[in-house]
Symmetry: C3
Subunit: 146 residues, 3 copies
């Protein structure tokens, strides 16, 4: 465990509204870079007309890609922003709801918004640095003292 | 994409505890009106003894209603508050967990709380205005510049 | 319904990064005690190599335990911190994603992190007191006026 208590919240909040047809991972990433927001909590709800989510395969050290080829409610889009080499890195997971109420989810790789995605990013600190974990090849939040 | 960076967070937080038998959509709505909170992030966990969630049907331009007639854990209740005609509008999606751990979810239409629902609303700005989208008939966050 | 509007947010944010093999419920609890954080919102994403979640059985007045014996994405970990007898009490629910994108979830009883769990706790007030509910035996947030 590594913990960091932050006493200087910036108070910045970024609201991003994705429109029909937009790809949210790139859109949110562009908004983070434009506003230079490098650490925060991300939440969103809305809808996708299609998406691709991932499950990290420990053996292959890569995401197994799970296509979702139907209109789904974005029941939960949750994650964080950290930084790598001074650039914001978005890490969000999604739970998606089908027409019958059944759900599918994973690490959000890409999606196509319909009719909207309402994203709120609250900045939590100047920076949460990521470093590549040698075992997985993933960039993980390094935390204080690393 | 439309983004809005808010520099004057109000710092207001509204904690709403729903009791056994209460209907959370109306209860949270009443709390928002009472405290005149018109823009924010909403999260909650707890339990429902029954619920109705929705999936937006693009053809019919209306929600398909999915009844959930059993005791479920509220695994995630996530969404936002915006305003329409000066009144707060709640938009929350729910992921619900059944006795065997399987999940069902959608746009939260109504529910009956049991034994509790612990809701936290953090205000993010003076206002996030909604406008009716002609294509869907839904009130969507208009965002800056609209 | 009981509502409480908090005008003195502390602005404290606690970032907890759980490492491979750690048990997150105890780790987050230890971090809360170490920093004396007794009321807040909790969100996290990451992965578990195994977990146990619960569904509250109204008849038995206890959680039915649902074991998850596989690598899962933590699609959503959401909940709150309140206090009981002056100590922080963590209440979090989890939605977990399997290799095929299917989901399982419940009240998070225990888990084993792999490769990371990125937790953000934002303090919302000095204290949200819990009291034991006689009907269920559960400690529920009492709210103002109780």
């Amino acid at each position: 465990m590594r913990t960091e208590e932050l006493h200087q919240p910036t108070g910045r909040v970024l609201v991003v509204v994705c429109d029909k047809g937009e790809e949210p991972v790139s859109v949110i990433g562009a908004a983070l870079r434009r506003h230079d927001l490098r650490a925060g909590r991300v939440t969103a709800v809305g809808g996708f007309q299609q998406a691709e989510v991932g499950w990290f395969d420990r053996e292959r050290r890569d995401y197994r890609r799970i296509p979702v080829r139907e209109q789904v409610e974005v029941l939960s889009l949750l994650g964080d922003v950290a930084s790598r080499d001074g650039e914001p890195v978005l890490h969000v997971h999604a739970v998606l709801g089908r027409a019958d109420g059944s759900t599918v989810g994973g690490h959000l790789l890409s999606a196509q918004v319909w009719p909207t995605l309402e994203v709120i990013v609250t900045e939590v600190a100047p920076e949460l640095a990521k470093r590549v974990d040698p075992e997985t090849g993933l960039a993980l939040i390094a935390g204080p003292g690393r």
